[in-house]
Amino acid sequence: MLAQQLINGVSVGGVYSLLATGYALIYSLLGFSNWAHGEVAMLGAYIAVMSVVTVKMPFIPALVLAVTGAALISFVNERVFYRRIRSNNSPTMFLMIAAMGLSTTYKNLIVVLVGPKFKYFPSILTVESMEFFGLTVGVLDIISIIVSIIAIFFLDFLIYHTKFGLGVRACASDSTTSELLGVNVNRYILIVFLLAGALAGCAGVLLGMKYTVYPSLGNVALKAFIASVFGGLGSIRGAVLGAFTIGILETLVSAYISSGLRDLFTFGLLVAILLLRPEGLLGKSVEQKS
């Protein structure tokens, strides 16, 4: 029973980590929390579900389409909106407000265009389960775990072991100096948005398959945001750690205490970590960043 809950927790944590790393990447470069990130995942889920249900596309191309679409939406957010606001020399809070506006816009755009009703993926994978050393595990959970682990290792390799990653880390640590040294900061930011969007699209499809697809699906990303705060805003490895902690905590609380109190525990954990270690598990000191 416990082992089964742990697997569920890891699978939920895996999906959170896909989103949490996106928050961390964008925060580390731009220093603001991208509230529209959850909606990018939601739009990805809609692209997938519409192409499977309405266009009768096979699942894999639909997934590819969803990931590409989400990446492009994230790209547009940066290229059209955030870059303009940054070039106005506005305070960072304006980026956050704009992201909140974008999030509201996307949510309600879907309500108006597609309707507020829940959409379902045809249950090819969603209900199947397998036996594993005496444990019954949903195929979807296994897929979530595999996809997220691949994505995490890919991202970790990209950020910490390639020249591109070096550039991203340089921009994150000091964008002005990087720019002076000839790094094209805006291009790095764009690529990071593409990357974060693709990961969010992936997470959106997985979430949509696990639950259903609905306009406020993006609210799930709040948990991922908490995960990235928990791990230390702007730290990618911290975000992954936070995501798995929160995923496991949530499933254990729902299983053994009460599913109604699940969110209370998550937010309680957030407040506790902010009080005990405000910079998060792996973050830089908060005082320094002001």
Binding site: R84, I97, T104, T105, N108, G260, F267, L270, L274
Partner: protein, 291 residues
């Protein structure tokens, strides 16, 4: 006044009071809170339970509702306002959600997710308008007081404000508690008007809507925020058929305003600067002339 008109007037006042609080917090202190819906819930539930279960008069339950909201804000602010903007924001968001979950869970006291009904009907349009006027006068005087100047110093340059001796943590806390008390007041009015409240009426979207209203009206303009809350409450009533586009338009409007005219409709100006003859000169105007 017909019931319908009275209802619209009350709703406008409820929103405008809460928005005035958010205006002080976001427009003047540049703090961003997603928890004000939670404070509204605290005010609404406190007053509803006090009047219904204990038979308390509104004159007692309203200050208590506002005090509870303020006390909750004080506690949260004390814990988190030392931290940077994003951490504060996420804690307020977490707090708002926690209040909702806690209200749903404590169903014996609050009626749970299905809501709390049969609240005594105390709110009428005259009371609502009266309270709105009083709270606007208080807010205006507050932001023109010494405290308000400290808020604006924090808004413009927090580090510099700190360097010249403004106790930023203290004034941020003050501004946060102020906005929570206003949200609590709006909650009390709302509960005794609708006579039915449910936890999901005070969710994240409510807090986001108020922040959106302040941004549209103008960050740093109290009268702009209030005007925009009146317009934004009236619009869906006038154009009933377009109600489903309401939030879409709000969202898009915020993005456009932040991109193109970041100071909102009114900028940093107040209504009085357009009709100087009608208003006694405010301290800010005098300062402006002195320059």
């Amino acid at each position: 006044m017909s019931d319908y008109t009275q209802g619209v007037v009350i709703l406008i006042c409820v929103n405008a009071i809460a928005v005035a609080g958010v205006s002080v917090l976001t427009g003047f202190t540049r703090l961003f809170s997603f928890g004000n819906g939670g404070f509204m819930a605290i005010g609404a539930y406190t007053s509803a339970i006090l009047t219904k279960v204990y038979g308390a008069p509104l004159a007692l339950s309203m200050p208590l509702g506002m005090a509870c909201a303020g006390a909750a804000a004080w506690l949260i602010g004390k814990l988190t306002l030392r931290l940077k903007g994003d951490y504060f924001l996420i804690t307020t968001l977490g707090f708002g959600e926690c209040i909702r979950v806690a209200l749903e869970y404590a169903y014996k006291l609050t009626g749970g997710p299905r809501g709390y009904s049969n609240i005594p009907h105390y709110t009428n349009a005259y009371l609502a308008v009266g309270l709105l006027i009083v709270s606007l006068i208080v807010a205006r005087n507050f932001i023109q007081s010494k405290y308000g100047w400290h808020f604006m110093a924090i808004r413009e340059q927090e580090v510099a404000a700190e360097a010249v001796g403004v106790d930023t943590a203290k004034y941020k806390l003050m501004s946060f508690v102020f906005s929570a008390v206003y949200a609590g007041c709006a909650g009390v009015l709302f509960a005794h008007y609708l006579r039915f409240i449910a936890p999901n009426m005070f969710n994240l979207e409510k807090s986001a809507e108020w922040t959106i209203t302040v941004v549209i009206g103008g960050l740093g303009s109290l009268s702009g925020s209030v005007i925009s809350s009146v317009i934004l409450t009236l619009l869906p009533e006038v154009f009933r058929g377009l109600a489903e586009y309401r939030m879409l338009v709000y969202g898009a409007a915020v993005v456009l305003i932040i991109m193109l005219r970041p100071n909102g409709l009114m900028g940093y100006r107040e209504l009085s600067s357009f009709f100087p003859a009608l208003f006694r000169k405010s301290r800010s105007d005098r300062e402006e002339e002195a320059r």
